[in-house]
């Protein structure tokens, strides 16, 4: 029997054989896909290559808060505008979803029946309605706001219409940089004070009012400096001229719809993750910390949350990844993200579908891997350290 099977009876050989087979089949499949694609591209006379990136785009992108974009700029710049817009909505969305998710997760566990039920309804609703519909819902609500000529005026300086939220734009005059430097220094010294106070508390048990002194440093010192320097800051107010408001800062309804939908949708998932994390901390921990006389807020902050985070962070990372990838739905409301601008308009104007899609995919992959990388570092830092 043994002799019939020959090499196959050897476990090591078998393992190498099957691994080689799998890699070989994969390579063959890849080769097949690539050769078929290039063959068909050539057969249909579709030009390939990367030179189109340097060609002028020829179209305009209206939402580009970080880079100035003109129709004479290249497709490469369309790409950068898209990446920045994707990052903008992803990062703000992740921050808002985290804050909202934590609050809701904690409220869900509240002993207040009404509050906890309300959060339950919210979670079930937003988790179970497709995100695309939520984005379109928010957008349809936003474009039903008053027209630009009948804008709602709030506090005399903000204007709300279906063209977006217009607010004054701050203009930094000379001298304002000192204020910024003061703020940065204040942050650094607050951080140092915090470390010093912790050490002192460990040694002597004495506490230092870290929070109030940090607030003082960060807000009051720069504020005094600001007035000493003669208020080097002015505002450019939006004014209704012709068709639109001119000047000021504007937040577009496309962005608001994306931001609201993404953060509200993801917050529902995060709140469940937070709830699970908190519930994973054994009841005895809470009872023990109450027994030694800690305040309710301290129990949460010092005992429960640090332990819950170990359970929370890994699934939280995947929610961040989901949110970032979901931001590609911006196309539904014309939000000028990566997929809409470069992966959509550039692709269509140049016809370089494979190149554009490859770049877009590689970009999402890089963004996701970067998020994972940093979240993994954070995850390691909060894990239980065995001594």
């Amino acid at each position: 029997m043994r002799s019939n099977l020959g090499f196959f009876s050897d476990e090591k050989f078998r393992s190498i054989f099957f691994q080689t087979l799998v890699v070989g089949l994969f390579a063959l499949g890849l080769f097949f896909v690539i050769s078929t694609t290039s063959y068909n591209l050539e057969k249909r006379n579709i030009a390939t290559g990367w030179s189109f990136l340097q060609n002028p785009a020829g179209f305009d992108i209206s939402f580009s808060p970080f880079l100035e974009f003109k129709s004479t700029d290249t497709h490469l710049k369309v790409y950068f505008v898209g990446v920045l817009n994707t990052l903008l909505v992803s990062i703000t969305g992740c921050i808002a979803a985290t804050i909202l998710g934590f609050i809701l997760g904690i409220v869900r566990l509240s002993s207040n029946w009404l509050l906890s039920r309300l959060v339950y309804i919210y979670v079930e609703f937003s988790r179970n309605v497709p995100l695309l519909l939520q984005i379109i819902l928010w957008y349809s609500i936003l474009i039903q706001l008053p027209r630009v000529k009948q804008s709602l005026q709030v506090l005399d300086v903000f204007y709300i219409s279906n063209r977006g939220l217009y607010s004054p734009r701050p203009i930094f005059e000379s001298g304002f940089s000192y204020v910024l430097i003061a703020i940065v220094l204040a942050f650094i010294s607050s951080f140092l004070i915090n470390r010093w106070a912790k050490k002192r508390q460990d040694k002597t048990g004495q506490q230092f009012p870290v929070f109030s002194s940090s607030i003082g440093l960060i807000f009051i010192v720069p504020l005094i400096l600001f007035f000493i320097l003669g208020s080097p800051l002015s505002f450019e107010h939006p004014e209704l001229k012709g068709f639109n408001f001119k000047g000021g800062l504007v937040i577009r309804p496309e962005f608001i719809a994306m931001f609201l939908a993404l953060s509200i949708y993801t917050a529902a998932f995060i709140s469940e993750i937070v709830r699970a994390g908190i519930m994973s901390v054994s009841k005895g921990q809470r009872e023990a910390s109450a027994a030694i006389g800690l305040k309710q807020t301290w129990i949460m902050r010092l005992i429960i949350i640090p332990q819950a985070l170990r359970v929370i962070v890994p699934p939280l990372t995947s929610q961040y990844l989901n949110l970032t990838k979901n931001s590609s739905l911006g196309i539904a409301v014309g939000y000028a993200d990566l997929v809409h601008g470069f992966g959509g308009i550039s692709l269509n104007q140049t016809g370089q579908a494979i190149e554009c899609m490859a770049i877009v995919m590689a970009t999402y992959l890089s963004i996701s891997l970067t998020i994972s990388f940093f979240m993994n570092i954070y995850n390691r830092s909060i894990q239980f350290k065995e001594k």
């Binding site: 097949f32 068909n40 063209r163 639109n244 014309g334 692709l347």
Partner: protein, 334 residues
């Protein structure tokens, strides 16, 4: 292993080898035609759910040429963006979708425009309440624009040329454009003038909207097929030409049977009484007769879908025959 290799070979063959599109269509039993997601007058489902319009007629004419049956066509909706990949991948056999013939599409994208079934130009539509009378007064306006179109590029050029600014609001479909324009999210909607007429006709109160006089581009719209399949390209090209020639010769769906006994040689050639032009195209010899009988000539299709008596109210203008002040012209049928 040998078996595996042969499977690969068969699959590879299936992927790479393309029989002619005409044979594919004949074997399948119906034509797959890419149209818009709904643009009244060009391609939109009518009250009974049937696709109707100038482009829809173009699709039906090709179906009639191949099968002699106007119902042998499946309409596949495409957006401004999805249309080219849909055609390139073979998901549709042809596009009749308000598509502008440009050099880059003809050459770089690997398509072949076989003719022009509507001469159009890009225009602007604004609410009449704005009191705007010329596109050059649109400085600072928000403009709704369909992405991935030639109009998007023309728009940027026009404003750059005139040194005025605008904000683009990118939209995907004509319906989205309508929604945003009617809600006041954008001040102006720009697309082909025919599309504007179609949008205006669909408004609850068309008088509240004006189409500005400027026409800022040439937009020859026509059917297109994949580059390289000349036989199929010829079938589509001559299906269109047959409708135009029929109008030139005064043959209509009403009188086509009587014309069979005409004494005009070109009429007899077109209707398949003389010559074997159908065979040259690998179609039946009465293909053009069937198109005229079942669809009508170009004028009939135009008047029924976009002409002055329809809600779109578009005069023939450039789309009149060359003999009547327009530029519609088909090569001779001989």
């Amino acid at each position: 292993m040998k078996k595996l290799l042969s499977i690969f070979a068969v699959v590879a063959f299936a992927f790479s080898a393309h029989a002619g599109t005409l044979d594919d269509v004949k074997n399948r039993g119906f034509l797959k035609c890419g149209v818009t997601t709904g643009l009244a007058g060009f391609a939109a489902p009518d009250d009974s759910g049937e696709w109707a319009g100038l482009d829809a007629d173009m699709c039906r004419a090709v179906a009639v040429a191949v099968f002699g049956d106007r119902s042998k066509v499946e309409f596949i909706t495409t957006t401004g963006k999805s249309r080219f990949p849909t055609l390139a991948s073979g998901e549709v056999d042809m596009l009749a979708r308000n598509t502008t013939w440009t050099i880059s599409r003809d050459v770089n994208l690997g398509f072949e425009f076989v003719g022009v079934n509507f001469y159009d130009g890009q225009g602007f539509m604004v609410p009449s309440a704005l009191g705007v009378s010329s596109a050059t007064e649109l400085d600072g306006a928000t403009v709704c624009i369909q992405t991935g179109t030639t109009t998007e590029l023309n728009l940027a050029d026009f404003f750059r040329l005139n040194g005025i600014s605008y904000e683009a609001l990118p939209i995907e479909t004509n319906d989205e454009g309508k929604e945003n324009l009617f809600a006041g999210r954008c001040d102006v909607y720009t697309t082909d003038a025919s599309g504007l007429s179609s949008t205006r006709a669909a408004a609850s109160n068309p008088d509240k909207w004006v189409v500005l006089p400027e026409i800022i581009s040439k937009e020859p719209l026509g059917p297109l097929v994949r580059h390289g399949d000349h036989q199929w390209g010829d079938v589509v090209r001559w299906s269109l030409n047959a409708m135009i020639i029929a109008e030139e010769l005064g043959i209509t769906s009403e009188n086509v049977d009587a014309q069979m006994s005409s004494n005009v040689p070109e009429v007899l050639r077109l209707l398949g009484v003389e010559g074997n032009y159908g065979e040259m195209l690998e179609l039946s010899n009465d293909w053009a007769y069937q198109i005229i009988k079942q669809i009508g000539n170009y004028s009939e299709s135009y008047e029924a879908n976009v002409g002055p008596d329809t809600p779109l109210e578009i005069a023939r203008g450039l789309n009149a025959l060359w003999t009547q002040g327009g530029i519609l012209y088909a090569p001779p049928f001989r």
